[in-house]
Amino acid sequence: MKTLKHFIYIIVGLVGLVACKPEINTPKPSHGTANFSRFIAVGNSLTAGYADGGLYLQGQLNSYPAIMAKQMLSVGGGTFTQPLFSTAQSNGSGYLQLTGFSSTGSPITAPVTSNLAVRGILPVPGFGNVTLYSKYSGDINNYGVPGIKLLNITYAPYGNLNGFYERLLPGDSPTNTTPYLAFITAKPFTFFSNWLGNNDALAYATSGGAGDVLTDPTTFAALNTLLINTLTQGGAKGVVATIPDVTSIPYFNTVTEGAILAAVQKANPSVTGLYINALVSGTTYAPRVATPTDLIVLTFPTSKIGQPVSTPYGTLPYGLTPYTPIDNQYVLDANEVTLTENAVTAFNSSITSTANAKGLAVFDAYTFLKNIKSNGLVTNGISLNSNYISGGLFSLDGVHLTPRGYAIVANEFIKAINSKYGSNIPLADVAAYGGIKFP
């Protein structure tokens, strides 16, 4: 019996001793040849954390620079401060919320209008109304400004025309004279990310080629060189990203010509095509039948189709005759798509060559998102793709990303940095960031 007792003691002892958990040895954190102590992020709405058609606190907290900075902490990253909206005004500019689905499965969205940070609306002569937001006066690491183009970075009055930029400046519109480039480089930094340039193509594309113009590629190249030279002149290292193909976003691939036509034909089988006002060349537009290569924007109110329109030829249904084509602003037609794509290709070649010349890391967002568009992306058991809502990557505006989408982008930036500078910034847990919120 004594032996048995001893044996039981031994076993209990063994259990106590070894019931410690297994532990996998991970590589020691290293910043490589880079220094992340003051990291700044330069860019537009994507950088600011814009999502669901607005800039709001929850989106800011999940911006890709914020995610990157959090991951950088273990390799010498410093405090990362964002120009956050206050909790009381957490809905910022307002944004879209998914409220349900119609009986046919179409999503229904509603704008969030409470707890906004809107300070006022200022009419600027010769420009239009500028929405102003509550001022932010603290330290800034995330310089993402929704709407900004590369074209705007040296334009001194820009701080009067963009409310998201104006809120970061001390002065009130229309008294500002600090160009964006000077603003972001005023305080020293050791590392930067730059993802400017999307709006130089996107603003044109999302307005159906009607409400804006593409930035001239030569101007783009010159400004990009100036930007990168300025960002690197103090010895900072950094990462830049290419501009995604605007046609790879759900904004242009959800309300399709085929889907509208099919729905029209359900009610009226004799209809054979939709008419659009399409670019012929230069600035000449002419009506023609739409094809699948003409991209219709997500915000097109499809209820307009077939509505009576009075014309010199009598009352005709909207979108269904050459005399009543779908308005230009709703369609990025095939020729406009080509113009946009050519511009993006030219912009990206400037971005890549300048970055390579300066030895910067490059995240090729163009290739990455194009690849997701064609093949989808599976990660951590989540199947993602570029579809609207169901794809999980893009937020309700069809252009900007969900927190999960931003986490994936942050990881791609981190991979590019790690491979360029020999650092090992740990990747973020994509599964910990959410997607679209369903009611």
């Binding site: 048995l4 889907a259 579809n387 847990d429």
Partner: protein, 407 residues
Amino acid sequence: MKKILLLVLALIPVLTFAQGFQVNLEGQKQIGMGHTGTGLVQDGASVFFNPGAVVLLPENYIQAGISPLLFKSDFNPSGTNAQYQSLNKVATPFNFYAVWGPKSSWWKLGLGVYTPFGGLTDWGKSWQGKYVLESLDLKAIYFQPTLSIKINKVLSIGGGFVYNRGSVDLTQAIPLGNSSGQDGQAELKGTGKGYGWNAGLYIKPSSKISIGLTHRSKVSTTINNSDAIFTVPASVQGGFPQPNTFTATIPLPATNSLGIGFYPTDRWTVALDVNLINWNVYKVLAFDYKTNTSSLQDTYSQRNYKNAVSLRAGAQYKANTKTALRFGGGYASTAVRDGYVTPEAPDANRVYVTAGLGYKLAKGLDVDVSFEYEHLMSRTQTNIQSQLSGTFETNVYIPGISLAYHW
């Protein structure tokens, strides 16, 4: 006509049973000796280890044992310093045997109830692989009536029929967040059954050596009409109709064993076992949901397991008439190919050591205790299906105790 959208929620949960959930804990005496026993006559556990040896038991037996099992897994996602540990949950594999026959007769009857397959893994609801698996509780309980016959002085044979009662309870997060950002949940829960058989041959050519050869058949276990519970936000619940059921078949593989016992002195018994486990029957895992929608399709996922081998050795030393000391160990190769490792039981090649003690409490009453420590080698993998990428490492701690009454 509002907005026309091609909206299909293509978020099909793919639920998986992975891994060789083989649990080698079928008798405390045998566990102590590295889970050898195919070529030995130890006690009622021969019903499992070798039905051919049952008839050679000198007495009738009734015995029961339990082996509380703590499975501690660690996961380090690729490119991170994060470590996720499975929660402390104790599984309870058990064994029960009864053997009866006329004294010194040419036949004996046996009954075994044991748990040769199972798994209990709980990673919690907030780890990186939650969309692959949160928790799994899988049990297979085999009921095996057995007949053993002595052919002559050297050779005896035996065989049994196996009825398996299996149960599964699996949970997984679904990437459909509600308005507060909480994930949807899938739970598959139910029971099933399967049939098989077990046969063995026992040869004792001399007093110094004995040899056993057994085959335990495949038991294809079908989980039928079991609950498929999906909790998702109300606006997308239509894609996951409730109530719903599923059917799935899991082939629990056949095992071929060869065991040899050596008796160098009166006090020493040395045993060697070799097992070949036919895991290659596990090619695919298919889930058939009763009600399908565009969001909830039947799934069909590749498993492509390969056959596995285990080598075991053990020894017993009779310290005195009342006490037996045992020790052993072994090595088992993994059935899971690269690219197919999943968090249910992140399989890898494994080594283990065991120790045991037998003590005679009274006439006809034995108590046996055992302890096993198993280490699954660290394995860095990217799963082909889920793209969950990282390193798994696992330790298993299994104390155990049994009581045997024989007369």
